[in-house]
């Protein structure tokens, strides 16, 4: 099977993931942190992604994944 490139950078995808290892880890962290944000702010998934990507404390990979997930959501993916 051909290896594919991460949609957010030039690296190859991690096995079984649509992202490379760094963006894949960022997505996992985003999922993990969501429950804390939801409890803290009573916030939904999309608002959470928008809020995270607007924070200057957020890492670049985290912002990129958040944007990507939002776009996928808009496109109904």
């Amino acid at each position: 099977m051909m290896s594919r490139c991460c949609p957010l950078c030039w690296r190859l995808n991690e096995e079984g993931s649509e992202y490379c290892r760094y963006h894949s880890d960022a997505r996992q962290s985003l999922h993990k942190a969501f429950s804390l944000w939801r409890d803290a702010l009573e916030i939904g998934w999309e608002d959470y992604l928008v809020a995270v990507s607007a924070r200057q404390e957020s890492g670049r990979w985290v912002c990129e994944v958040a944007h990507h997930l939002l776009e996928k959501g808009k496109n109904g993916a």
């Binding site: 030039w10 760094y22 880890d25 960022a26 962290s29 985003l30 993990k32 942190a33 804390l36 944000w37 409890d39 803290a40 702010l41 009573e42 995270v52 924070r55 404390e57 957020s58 890492g59 670049r60 990979w61 985290v62």
Partner: protein, 707 residues
């Protein structure tokens, strides 16, 4: 006095004294000459000093750091390379051409000498420099007649003492360890650098020196791992509750007992429950705290403190400290020690410092003490004490040297001071909410005894916040009550000082080499800015090494080699064994590397291109809106300007002139007035300045941007 140096001497013995640098040679010759005025002559641009000491003649010569270095034995610019020899440095590296004259001068000056003294700095490098000079210039027999001077300052007193108490032989374990370190580092450096550089060249046709070594690898890996944490950080919200109270007309901050509240609703409820209420002081406690004086500096501590106080990078601090050492104003700076041994005449040093105007009052107060014992740190160095002033008062020092000298002197004085004593006061304020009781804390501190702090001003910040006398049961108003949203932050990037500390803690490199390693990371473009941010290139290098040569990033491997070096110094391990071990590691690493050279090269080539694109990208074109402004260099004139990427499509001709001097860094920001990109220009010896690249920008009319 200039003489030919060829005059026959009536004196009994001629001794060749080998020093590390010309400045040190001058000081040593002056200190050892009976009249304090040695003869000086010039041998092809190299100063030679003839000192008379009793009935002996001392020919004091200087090296220029290492005069001999390692070079490959024949062969091509490829890898692996395991055959090498020590050769004159000018033969190994054209940039070292000046060293040729020093070798020739020493060769001539050593004619007729029968005894030899190594007077280079007392460390591995110094011992090796003198050994190589004696072995290769004066011949192997000279080593049997060679002695070693041991000193930590270039003051006359210390140098004469070192001469009178010379070690009867060269310090061979140090020399052997130094030689091994050079050879091991050369083997790693040459092979890995060639492997990386050739992978890039073969993949893209581009040549770029991409160095990596056994210390550089793990250090770069630290920076990369930190970047991974930063770029993968998801901030978590939390809230803090702040309030103020007014006592005796003064406003005092109050902190809520729970420092961090995880839910916004909870924070809001607390604030509404306490709003408009009064609090009652339930307890008041005072704790007396003693703060011990700081230890005298070792090199790492000095570099970190200089970064923290003046933002000097480690190289700037080291260079200044070396100049001060060569001027005999401070002791040898490349030391790990935080201790001042009893053999050092502390009172004598202070007497000397008293002559300096700014220190007179402080020193006088110290000299009143019957006993002066500096506080001793945990770290020690068998060769040198902690960095301390010598007591020799410099004339006019300016800039970096003046600041570093002041830091060293004040730290030394502070280490002799008593503890600083503070009373920390904490009062608990209870507010009766509707459903539950809430607690706030009111905190203050009062300096009771200044102790060492007065000697270390202005380098220590006062954290005192005095509060009025409080009593239990006292009622206090709660004002300015609010909850503030906060977010967890990613870890900070390393600065050059914190990176040095980590290297020290992890046992990577030595006090002499760490600064160079950090410098190299910048020079190669692996990291950038003072925040030591890893570049795409640095990141890609680490990723590839992780995959194909993980040993090179391993702290354990480097630490084990450092341990071997230590064991060579104590005679438990041999140079040959260390080299054999190095070759074994390299053989397995390089074979893995070679097998994947093409893919490594293509990844690195991609990173180089991305890095070039990033550093030339200034921002969006304000005229056409969809083009990108990039720095372009005119191939004919060599001048640079900013041009729109749509020029090549024929749709936009926007261009801006750029400053022709200094390094241009894009800031990523656009001018608020005209929308053109703002750049930062960094030139040597100037503060970086920012400007909008449009020379017709309205912001530039009628005054400066700062107005």
């Amino acid at each position: 006095l200039i003489t030919t140096g060829k005059e026959k001497s009536d004196l009994k013995e001629r001794t060749l004294v080998v020093c590390e640098k010309p400045t040190a040679a001058r000081r040593i010759a002056h200190a050892l000459d009976d009249r304090g005025a040695p003869e000086t002559y010039d041998e092809g641009g190299v100063p030679i000093f003839i000192a008379k000491r009793a009935e002996d003649e001392l020919v004091v010569v200087s090296a220029l750091g290492h005069l001999f270095s390692i070079a490959q034995d024949g062969g091509k610019w490829t890898y692996p390379v395991y055959d090498y020899s020590w050769v004159p440095a000018h033969e190994a590296d054209k940039r070292q051409a000046r060293t040729k004259r020093f070798i020739q001068a020493i060769e001539r000056a050593s004619e007729g000498t029968t005894r030899y003294v190594s007077a280079c700095d007392l460390d591995m490098e110094g011992s090796l420099i003198a050994y190589m000079v004696l072995l290769n210039v004066c011949g192997e027999d000279s080593l049997d007649e060679a002695k070693r001077m041991r000193y930590s300052t270039l003051t006359e007193r210390d140098l004469v003492k070192a001469w009178n108490e010379m070690a009867p032989n060269l310090d061979y374990p140090q020399i052997e360890a130094g030689r091994t370190r050079h050879e091991v580092d050369w083997l790693f450096g040459i092979n890995l650098t060639r492997a990386l550089s050739l992978s890039l060249k073969n993949a893209s046709g581009t040549f770029k020196t991409l160095s990596i070594g056994r210390v550089q690898g793990p250090t770069l890996n630290f920076v990369k791992e930190r970047e991974v944490e930063i770029q993968g950080h998801v901030p978590i919200p939390f809230w803090v509750i702040k309030a103020e109270t007014t006592i005796e007309g003064g406003r005092i901050p109050l902190d809520y007992a729970k420092a961090r509240i995880d839910k916004k609703s909870e924070a809001r409820d607390i604030v509404s429950a306490c709003r408009g209420k009064e609090g009652v002081i339930s307890t008041v406690s005072t704790r007396r705290v003693e703060q011990s004086p700081p230890t005298p500096f070792n090199l790492g501590d000095l570099q970190r403190e200089a970064y923290s106080k003046f933002r000097y990078n480690p190289r700037t601090t080291l260079n200044a400290a070396e100049r001060l050492y060569l001027g005999a104003y401070i002791s040898y700076p490349r030391t790990s020690s935080q201790r001042i041994p009893p053999s050092i005449d502390v009172r004598g040093i202070l007497e000397g410092l008293r002559r300096r105007k700014g220190y007179a009052r402080l020193v006088t107060s110290l000299l009143k003490e019957s006993k002066l014992t500096p506080v001793q740190g945990a770290k020690d160095d068998p060769a040198h004490p902690a960095i301390h002033p010598t007591g020799a008062v410099p004339g006019k020092l300016t800039g970096v040297d003046a600041r570093i000298y002041d830091l060293v002197c004040r730290r030394f004085m502070a280490s002799l001071g008593g503890p600083a004593v503070r009373d920390n006061v904490s009062a608990k304020v209870i507010v009766d909410g509707e459903d539950e009781v809430h607690a706030f804390f009111l905190k203050g501190a009062k300096l009771v005894e200044e102790g060492w702090i007065k000697f270390y001003q202005p380098y220590v910040k006062e954290k005192d916040f005095e509060i009025p006398r409080l009593s239990e049961g006292q009622r206090v108003p709660i004002a300015k009550l609010r909850y503030l949203e906060r977010y967890t932050k990613p870890p900070a990037r390393f600065n050059p000082g914190s990176l040095l500390r980590l290297m020290e803690e992890e046992g990577l490199g030595t006090k002499a080499t760490r600064t160079d390693i950090v410098d190299t990371l910048f020079k190669r473009g692996y990291v950038k800015d003072s925040a030591t941010e890893i570049t795409d290139l640095g990141f890609t290098i680490v990723e590839n090494l992780e995959r194909y040569a993980p040993d090179i990033l391993s702290v354990e491997m480097t630490r084990s080699l450092e341990g071997d070096m230590g064991r060579i110094q104590s005679g438990e391990f041999s140079r040959e064994d260390a080299i054999e071990k190095t070759v074994e590691v390299l053989e397995s690493t390089l074979s893995g590397f070679k097998a994947h050279e093409a893919s490594i090269g293509s990844e690195i080539s991609g990173a180089v291109t991305r890095e070039e694109e990033r550093s030339s990208y200034l921002g969006r074109c304000p005229r056409c809106g969809d083009g990108h402004l990039r720095i372009i260099v005119n191939k004919k004139t060599g001048k640079r300007f900013a041009g729109c990427s749509n020029y090549f499509k024929g749709t936009c001709t926007t261009s801006y002139p750029l400053p022709q001097r200094g390094r241009i860094n894009p800031t990523g920001r656009a001018c608020g007035e005209c929308g053109a990109p703002i750049i930062r220009v960094t030139s040597k010896g100037r503060r970086p300045w920012e400007l909008c690249i449009d020379i017709n920008c309205p912001s530039k009319r009628g005054g400066s941007n700062d107005e």
